[in-house]
Point group: C2
Chain length 185, copies 2
DNA sequence: TTATTAAGTATTGTTTCTGTACTTAAGTCA
DNA sequence: TGACTTAAGTACAGAAACAATACTTAATAA
């Protein structure tokens, strides 16, 4: 059974704390191989695509910074909070900074890379709002400081500014495209 | 130990096939309580927020329709493919339609609700592209049929059309806001 | 002296995910 | 006729991740 160490990233739990080579000699894939996929969606989901990470990031945008605040806000296991904050820090989405000493206490803040997750989060909010809101209406409203109006997120073409519909888009391979490093049986 | 049946949804694996009341008498939360959160992000992630669902939906946008195509494309366990397709069909994101009989064969297609996931997916693609692309460039390029140019996804204010930055947004509770149904210890 | 706060670590049990094999029903090849 | 292939799953054992609870450490407050 050959064992090959793949590309870049060791991501969470098992791999986060005990980085081991990934076996590549079987056909099936598990999600820890995702960063090796030649797809930006797959690579992003390798970092953000679990049940809690995006909720932690949502809390960050709401001003949450401390370990216990995250744990209380989400009500999840402290182990998961530790793992996710560690991973997001490693990935450069959050920074961990001491805000006091004796005893040392740390806070977690979004980096620029973290702030760039905003469109994803607003897209998720918009979809949930449209399909899962209470009949009373949205649980949250957003006002744009610039135009002083309530808005919702809107996806447009960066070139012509028109709203984007999936039917109006042609996708093709780009320069970074590689055929999938598919494992042989 | 009191047991209370909560709100709406039974989502995956255990709850998908064997819907049981959710215990609400403990402090900690697990992700199956997410649909009861008064947050559109949490509710969306209860459906889409696992390691594989958004990749299945990505494949749908690429034209994948059949069970075996999903399984081969992602290289994941057939069990997961079954569970995710079943869940997405239940949630109205996909439809399951027979494309032949004797023997019966089905295909899965995006509904309108499914097509509305496009902004989320493009947001995810954009972020991965910015931070995890090969040095050669993006693995995929998108052309807007309307303006005939390569573009990337851009998030703007629905009211004034300006690009949105997190610092320019004020959030507040909306009419559907409820205090969290926090469990008591 | 005891309790509290913050930021974790440790441990155990439950749930989910992974890998492999099997099933069913029809069509195709030799 | 029998073996092989395709499509769409199901079954089940073992591995990984998650959940619940308790514990640790260092300082302050009552």
């Amino acid at each position: 059974m050959t064992v090959i160490r793949l590309g870049i990233v060791y991501l969470t739990d098992r791999l986060l704390f005990n980085a081991e080579p990934i076996r590549t000699d079987e056909f099936n894939m598990n999600w820890q191989d995702l960063p090796n996929e030649a797809c930006s969606v797959a690579r992003t989901l390798a970092v953000l695509g679990d049940r809690w990470t995006l909720l932690i990031i949502r809390d960050c945008f709401n001003g949450t910074r401390k370990f216990d605040e995250f744990q209380r806000s989400l009500g999840i296991s402290r182990t998961i909070v530790t793992n996710r904050l560690t991973l997001l820090t490693k990935e450069g989405v959050l920074t961990k900074q001491a805000y006091q000493t004796k005893p040392d206490r740390y806070e977690y803040r979004l980096t620029e890379k973290g702030l760039d997750i905003y469109p994803i989060l607003m897209g998720i909010f918009r979809w949930g709002d449209k399909y899962y809101a209470e009949k009373e209406g949205s649980p949250a409203l957003f006002k744009h400081k610039n135009c002083k109006r309530d808005f919702h997120a809107c996806l447009v073409c960066s070139e012509c500014g028109e709203p984007l519909h999936p039917r109006d888009v042609n996708a093709r391979h780009g320069p970074g495209y590689k055929t999938k490093p598919r494992k042989k049986k």
